[in-house]
Amino acid sequence: MPTIDIGPPDYREMLPPVIKENYGNWKYHEILKPGVLKHVSHRGAEVYSVRVGSPRLVSIDFIREVCDLADQYCGGYLRFTSRHNIEFLVSDQNNVEPLVVELQKKGLPVGGTGNSISNMIHTQGWIHCHTPATDASGIVKAVMDEIHEYFTTMQLPAKLRVSLACCLNMCGAVHCSDIAILGIHRTAPRIDNEKLQKTCEIPTLIASCPTAAIKPNPKEKTVVINEERCMYCGNCYTMCPAMDIMDPENDGLAILVGGKVSNARTAPMFSRLAIPFLPNNPPRWPEVTEAVVKLVKVWAENARKGERMGEWIERIGWEKFFKLAEIPFTDKHIDDFIFSVPTFRSSTNFKW
């Protein structure tokens, strides 16, 4: 019998000696160049972190290769970041450059620091999920290929976070990203009455609809959809396999902009709808990559130094944003959902 409830391994056993010895005693840090951080402790100890982009979906061979590098240059220690980058933790300064050279030789991009576009947070897509309106890994690769130069440099006015979620469940922080790519449906689910009777609990199915578009049909022991009320969120399909909503012709992507999670300068912001629909066009999704590149450029050309996408838009006004970004404003952009909780302080910024 295995031991259960043991929890994760103790993080203290995973720390390089220099981190362990200077834990909680760091004085400052510098970004030496894109992808290379230097942290200095109060006792004068130094640790260099070399940050590397990863496709997130990786083979165990990849992990073993990364381990070989960490054994060679970092005494067998490394970490991952909250955006799926890899960080090699180097305590000997002389190992930094050889490591960077070797990483570049392997085709692994060093960067993702400072005013860059770091890795894209993304989800499972067609690789492993049953509710997606689009793929995740494919679009991320296509977009990162196009904006690669921003990962390995720090030339932008501020940092820019791009995220992708393949359906409205928005796994990850897509709803709070500078640029968010979101898989959407545009047609109502088709009900399979026979399957529904066998597999779905009707009350929870009805309760799963945010617009109350689903009503019981007790005579047939199934449900009916008021299609005029349905905005294709797909949550009923999450609850019930008899509500198939996939529609390859009409599924696609929306792009939202202006979200952030940090409290620096301004409170965290939601991303807001910029482009209501773009088609699924594998394997390269040219419409999506073109839209993202254009948004990055219009922001980079117009924002002031230090201004995140959402801060820039709030300053110039959304009306000007739509003009500069050359995006037509439509009725789709006007919120017609129930009001949220805008008076609650969703920020740590307040006075004592």
């Binding site: 942290h39 061979d61 220690y77 690789i127 049953h130 949550n235 969703s346 920020s347 910024n349």
Partner: protein
């Protein structure tokens, strides 16, 4: 590799400068028929522009109710290698720090029992082991357990907590995020492994308001480090930034949300009004050698962050303006238990804590959980007079 593996659309994604997930899948496909069939099925998805996974699937390990995501292909005859293709979530160490020895152990077990494909990491923080069959789940878990790894959360449970790098490598950390994350994960193993609640509950810990794990957006409970006294200013180091060419007025003071900072250009002096500071971190971010968080440190606790479903996305909002965060962390544990008990009692099926508070009202929530109202909880007070008075508030 399987000789007949033809994936012209996916092959396009081996081109270009960004590291390719297709290349990774091919590496795995050389050794594992399951990974080859995953590629074939994905290629078919690219042709059809739709996914090919069947709805749901409930699988797991003995003793637990969560941690494994069942997944079945909708075309098992065509892609037998992914007829069953379940995901195991393995609880990551705090802050995603690893020894290569630990990572190699994960690889060895997954080579034996799975597809050889992984995500480092899932959005919540777990190591995602992508693709195995039902019969391999228990043996894989047994070997992970022997190697010192446990499963993470899934379903209506406490999901795997995660945290930023904190004191391990950040001078901004106001609390020991990694220790708190580890401690809470161990304290609440039962709540994590055996789903017992109305819905999922996520907990994320950031050491400061930069919120490097996006806790405010994607955790029901966001613990964010802060301080109560004045930030610490090294006047000489500020001058260094000025001498090095930083425009302190424009880049720092003018961007302060409350204008708590003023730069005296002639005197090279940074004037600071602590009472006006809302601890947004901007000035500290700009001048890490000169400015640091105050000495009286703890955390602000916010609740309610969630994605769209059902009632739109919520950002967590302030519930406890300030709480000390020191081992054994009894105060925060007690807080969490009270929240969970109230939610378990009142929450509807699949109702997140934020939605429950929204439905019942902050007043009811605060009274029933035993918390004090504070102006820090709102950006601004209500604009309507639709107030519920309690019987004890009015004359009988």
């Amino acid at each position: 590799m399987a000789e007949d593996l033809k994936t012209p659309l996916l092959d396009e994604l081996e081109k270009g400068p960004w590291p390719s997930f297709v290349t990774e899948m091919k590496k795995a496909a050389e050794k594992k028929p399951a990974a080859a069939d995953l590629m074939r099925q994905l290629e078919q998805s690219y042709v059809d522009k739709k996914g090919h996974w069947k709805h749901g699937g409930i699988v797991g390990v003995k003793g637990y109710g969560g941690g494994v995501i069942g997944r079945y292909s909708d075309s098992p005859e065509q892609f037998p290698g992914v007829a069953e293709f379940h995901t195991m979530r393995v609880n990551q160490p705090s802050g995603w720090f690893y020894t290569t020895e630990a990572l190699r152990k994960i690889c060895d077990v997954w080579e034996k029992h799975g597809s050889g494909l992984t995500n480092f990491h899932g959005s919540t923080g777990d190591v995602i082991l992508l693709g195995t069959t039902t019969e391999h789940i228990q043996p894989a878990f047994d070997e992970f357990s022997d190697a010192g790894f446990d499963l993470g959360g899934s379903g209506s449970d406490l999901r795997t907590p995660s945290c930023c790098v904190g004191k391990a490598r950040c001078e901004f950390a106001c609390i020991d995020t990694m220790d708190l994350c580890h401690d809470l994960t161990n304290e609440f193993q039962d709540e994590l492994h055996r789903p017992m609640w109305p819905y999922k509950f996520k907990l994320k810990i950031s050491g400061c308001a930069n919120d490097c794990v996006a806790s405010i957006a994607r955790a029901d409970c966001s613990v964010i480090g802060t301080w109560r006294d004045a930030l610490v200013i090294d006047a000489e180091a500020v001058k260094e930034y000025a001498r090095a060419g930083m425009d302190i007025k424009a880049e720092v003071c003018d961007k302060c949300p409350t204008r708590a900072l003023e730069w005296d250009t002639a005197g090279m002096e940074l004037k600071f009004n602590a009472e006006d500071c809302t601890r947004c971190m901007h000035c500290i971010n700009k001048m890490p050698k000169a400015l640091s968080p105050g000495k009286e440190r703890g955390a602000t606790i916010l609740l309610g962050g969630k994605a769209t479903i059902l009632q739109s996305a919520f950002l967590s909002w302030v519930i406890v303006p300030f709480m000390k965060m020191e081992p054994p962390y009894e105060e925060v544990k007690d807080f969490l238990r009270r929240i969970w008990e109230w939610w378990d009692e009142h929450g509807k099926t699949r109702e997140r804590i934020g939605e429950l508070i929204y439905r019942k009202g902050m007043g009811t929530f605060l009274r029933e959980v035993g918390l004090e109202p504070s102006p820090a909880m709102v950006f601004r007070p209500r604009a309507n007079p639709y107030v519920f008075w309690q019987p004890e508030d009015v004359n009988k």
